[in-house]
Assembly symmetry: C2
Homo-oligomer: 395 residues x 2
């Protein structure tokens, strides 16, 4: 046990540790002097904190830095791939995905398990989730790394202030405390559990690791059984005042359209969701649809075109309201991109009021269906980097 | 002419003047010592700046402050009602409104002129606007006050970076440089001209002077010939990435609905705009409609109910997307509020995914059709308070 110390000292050190680790995360390869210049801390303070971050396994020192110009060479610091990992899990409507990501953001293990979760009881699904987490924890133990945080992506509305899943329409879940459900089912590490909407996590993954340079303002739409939207503005997630924002699945696109379990008619999900496209094309599954699209099959291309037009009606309103300059097609839409992009662009061009001088970009996600679980894992990693104190010795 | 001085000194004084004036604006009746405590500036600096702000007519000193408790009494400072005024003008689709507001936000003069501006050439309308501005400038001169800034509200998409009116669908205007048009037509004072979307100005007026305590997150919808929305989140206007946000008029509410000049069918404006309501009710104008609503006339109440349901379809999607907890009905909707509120609440309750545990508030605007022009004038005043240096002597 350590000696009790004044609270102020601890708070300052906690703050400075985060500052130093943040500088190293932003500029991998930076030297101690570089960190001091970036943070405004003294070189002595930086050196002491870097030593402790290295001791905690969070930072790796790769020896003399490689840089042009005169002056003494420092040593090159970066986040350590052997440091605490982030573990992501996504409770999909028809799958369960897990992903283990190291501090640098590299994916170390990933698994997607098809399972129909529609209308299954919370307890049953959470038992499966716990088993999937156990598997990843064993994976981490085998690689001799610890898990420092867990992100859980869910297909529903999560209250930002409480982390409570208030409603998941396609699972028919209400007011579920996911962390409490999980802690009762598996001996989880003493790690923070962060619950978020899958579309929001997917949008963040696209922002952080999608490789779209200079794309800082966009709506990410993922087409699965449900349709979710994640809004990114100024390189930050916009999830509304209480966290319930980004719901696009029940956008009304056809007042004569099919009835939706939500009570309305012609909701976007019923007309442009994965199931609707498959049904219209007469395809058994996505692979069958893609095979037929590749051969130019009329029913298949027609179904894609029909969905794209409906998607365009909804996204035009989103762009007219939020003035975001680009749409990223994610989830299964990423795989259908070659057949969706053109009719979607046409619909946006006709309906977005600013389109005549500023066409809306339509971009293909590089992460596809894995985006949400990767975003969940990456968010867990970012939480560690933002507050590394709990992982440092001699607190 | 004053002596040239180093730029740094001027910049610091400019910054500090704004700090001091901002403190006085936020806490009317504050003393010099209070300003020093709030701003962190020395009492000597505050005293010197306050003297200069009084000299420039921006601040009024009302003598010994009224406050309980011990200690020496300072004198009570507030923004001066005799200081430079803000002048607002709104180019409505069927009216032209002007408004003169003093530094404290009090309306000193206001006039609304009915005129059908639909499809009139820019030059004709701007000649009228210049005449209306001249009238208010004479009004100001008669009251021996100057006009320190002008805000122009327009029914269209204004580019934030340039102030250019890119498109006003109901006027059929494209790429109009309003300040340039006005400067050529009237000898305006050497004041900044700020152009903005009318719905955004209206939302700001509602936020600043609507008297809705604790309402910091809402969508303000004004029903005129066009339908505009202004989004306020965290007590700040959200107008999208480039300023084109908040467009709700062409939200698709009925795929079989009437054709719209925009090219689509069933746009909200065509089904819930003022003209649509009047036509459905068979009323000649708004006053006739209100008379008939007051007597419980079936066609009139039916028309209001029909419009409210369509408005509810659009606003449900806005709330699902942005997660704003309240809707403010402005413009002509404010006058129709007693007949719109209930069916609108029902539609929101059925369609907003978070409504079962967090019903959407439906609030009546206290400013009605005057909101936009008042917001334009108030924005001009706030620009003066935010940077008073140009109005101070001995720059």
């Amino acid at each position: 046990m350590t000696q009790p110390r004044p609270a102020g000292q601890h708070t300052v050190r906690r703050h400075n540790s985060a500052l130093v680790l943040g500088a190293i995360a932003t500029a991998p390869g930076i030297s101690r002097a570089g960190v001091a210049a970036r943070t405004g801390l003294t070189k002595a303070t930086v050196s002491s904190l870097v030593d402790r971050l290295i001791g905690a396994g969070l930072v790796h020192d790769a020896g003399p830095e490689q840089r042009p110009g005169p002056g003494r060479r420092g040593t090159s610091l970066s986040l350590s791939p052997a440091g605490p990992h982030g573990l992501g899990v996504e409770i999909g409507v028809d799958y369960l995905a897990t992903c283990l990501v190291d501090l640098t953001g590299a994916v170390r293990h990933e698994r997607i398990r098809p399972v129909d979760n529609r209308f299954r009881p919370v307890a049953d699904v959470c038992t499966d989730v716990a088993a999937a987490l156990d598997e990843e924890l064993r994976e981490a133990a085998g690689a001799q790394v610890t898990v420092g945080g867990i992100g859980v992506a869910v297909p529903g509305l999560v209250e930002a202030s409480t982390g409570l899943l208030r409603r998941a329409p396609n699972l028919d879940w209400h007011d579920v405390d996911i962390p409490a459900e999980l802690r009762g089912r598996v001996s989880l590490p003493d790690a923070a559990i962060l619950v978020g909407n899958e579309a929001n996590f997917a949008a963040l993954a696209e922002l952080w690791t999608g490789g779209h340079d200079d794309l800082h303002d966009f709506v990410h739409v993922s087409g699965e059984i449900g349709i979710g939207a994640g809004i990114v503005i100024g390189a930050e997630l916009f999830s509304g005042v209480r966290g319930f924002g980004g719901e696009l699945g029940h956008f009304p696109v056809d007042s004569d359209g099919p009835h939706c379990p939500c009570g309305a008619r012609g909701c976007l999900e019923r007309l442009a969701g994965q199931d609707a496209i498959l049904e219209r094309a007469g395809a058994a599954d996505l692979d069958a649809l893609l095979d037929r699209l590749a051969t130019g099959d009329g029913a298949a291309t027609g179904a894609a075109r029909h969905a794209a037009a409906r998607l365009g009606i909804a996204l035009s309103s989103v762009v007219n309201l939020l003035d975001v300059p680009a749409v990223v097609l994610g989830g299964t839409y990423a795989r259908l991109y070659p057949w969706l992009a053109e009719p979607l662009r046409a619909e946006l061009g006709a309906r977005v009021l600013s389109a005549s001088w500023s066409p809306v970009g339509v971009v293909c996600s590089t992460l596809g269906t894995e985006a949400a679980v990767r975003g969940a894992a990456a968010s867990a990693v970012r939480a560690i980097v933002a507050d590394p104190d709990a992982f440092m010795d001699g607190r």
